[in-house]
């Protein structure tokens, strides 16, 4: 098998308020060393303070933390701009370009904003076709699923990666991903019996990206879900790394 390394789509560096017993990764060296145990050679990382304190603070810290760590690819959190605490989308995308950041994340549940177009539509439209959006959810419940469906169909050029899903979602995620070809799934929380195998057949292995949810979650479980999945080596390689490479390549900078 020619799998050479994994690309983690969902991990954070920095101190967190509620780490597990093994703690958090206070710097990039610690994160990289831990990931190397699992053959994770690259990671699309964000800073914990971007979600637990404020995106503006965390995004800045992320660039400092990942400087001279070429295999840690930075991703920034975004907020709607209406309160003045975050730049307008047009300016934000220029900042992304200037910093070389090729992925954006939102945590609407945790950071208490709506994803309706009158709140977030300008951001979505600006990112569409330019930068993939990693949408972190608390649960794939009814309103969240309906909103993902609405946003993905309203903004068909916006590539949306659903992050932090949980178990028991097949009846929702299957038609959602079939309806919206611009929706992807990050597998770190997808703790479903034969789940990766199932979704590979139902919607395609080209729609999933491997993630760990470090530091909050152990790597072993999502890693084993991918490695033990009854899929062919090309599919495993795609989920493990090349799908994310392809997704990030859409940002031209």
């Amino acid at each position: 098998m020619a799998v050479t390394e994994l690309f983690d789509a969902n991990c954070a560096v920095g101190m967190v308020s509620r780490p597990g017993p093994a703690g958090a990764f206070l710097n990039a060296d610690e994160l990289e060393a831990h990931q190397a145990r699992f053959g994770i050679g690259k990671a699309l990382v964000y800073h914990s303070l971007a979600v637990e304190e404020h995106p503006a603070a965390g995004n800045e810290l992320l660039l400092q933390a990942t400087e001279s760590h070429g295999n840690l690819i930075p991703s920034w959190l975004a907020l709607p701009h209406h309160t003045g605490e975050f730049p307008k989308p047009a300016r934000f995308i220029e900042e992304l370009r200037s910093a070389g950041v090729r992925a954006v994340r939102i945590f609407p549940d945790q950071q208490r904003f709506l994803t309706d177009d009158w709140v977030s539509g300008e951001l979505f439209e600006t990112l569409a076709g330019q930068v993939p959006l990693f949408w972190h959810i608390d649960r794939l419940d009814t309103p969240t699923a309906r909103e993902l469906h609405r946003v993905s169909t309203t903004h068909p050029d916006l590539q949306i990666v659903i992050c932090d899903v949980d178990k028991m979602i097949n009846r929702t995620i299957t038609p959602l991903m079939r309806e919206a070809p611009n929706i992807w799934l990050e597998t770190g929380g997808y703790r479903t019996h034969r789940g990766i195998e199932y979704l590979s057949n139902a919607v395609g292995a080209d729609r999933m990206v491997f993630g760990t949810k470090l530091p909050w979650q152990a790597v072993g479980p999502p890693h084993a879900e991918l490695m033990y999945a009854d899929i062919d080596d090309d599919a495993r390689r795609a989920i493990g790394s090349s799908n994310l490479d392809r997704l990030l390549a859409m940002a031209a900078w």
Binding site: G20, A22, G23, R191, R194, A218, A224
Partner: protein, 276 residues
Amino acid sequence: MFGHVWRHNAPHPHHHRPDPVAADALAGEPVEDFIIDVHSHPGPGTNFFYQGGGVDDLLRVMDRTGVDYSCFSAYTAIGPDFVRGNELVAGAVRDHPTRVIGFAVPNPNYPELAKEELIRRVDEQGFRGIKIHSTTHEYPIHGPNYIPVYEFADDHRLPILSHTYDSPARIRQLATTYPNARFIWAHAIWQHIRTPDLALTVRDLPNVFCEMSGSGNRRGQIEAFVRVAGVESAVFGSDYPVLGQTWQMGNVAHADLTHEEKRKIFSENIRGVLGL
């Protein structure tokens, strides 16, 4: 599978050489140690969908992960129809006696039928354990209809796998009242983070074991539990196919424990209890 190239090429820092269990899991190869999964539920999901779930499907997953035996209690048995579910497991035990261990489910809301079921399944059909589900059957584990179940387990020296989030005090009370029964507390290891008294309690109870299945998978939680409760209190359970057996395989295989500690969790702690 594809493991061999991966196994030899995976970049590991020199200070962390994976033990044989971790190496197998890294490669997606069946783990070679003797492994017993104490918690599985054959049958279709009753309120959500997963692919497969039948007996043959579960055996196929065991082949992939390297699990030798799984303790079956049917999904429908912990839900609407425990007789129908126990019958499904009886068939699995009959067809696969070297892979499947039957755990009979009594629904305490049908006390007479529950007693008959235990006698039939254990005394006549060779089931080696009992599974109770106080949540789906909505009946407290200290309720009177469970007393005959505990007495039966105590008389027969059987393990009882219990889905419960009851207090450590309740666990101690049951374990000391029925010292010949063995209690396996499902989902307890991740509870340890929220309920640290749990590990302190079970540490001193030789007939109590805890397994790690569930939704909480904090980094280091198994190790933290073992440090307090002792590795002898931990057993491997996945709750598959409700969750993934592969998921918990990764959890234990990659835990920062010694190979010997993993062996104990995977089978040695519970092997004698199950007569293996």
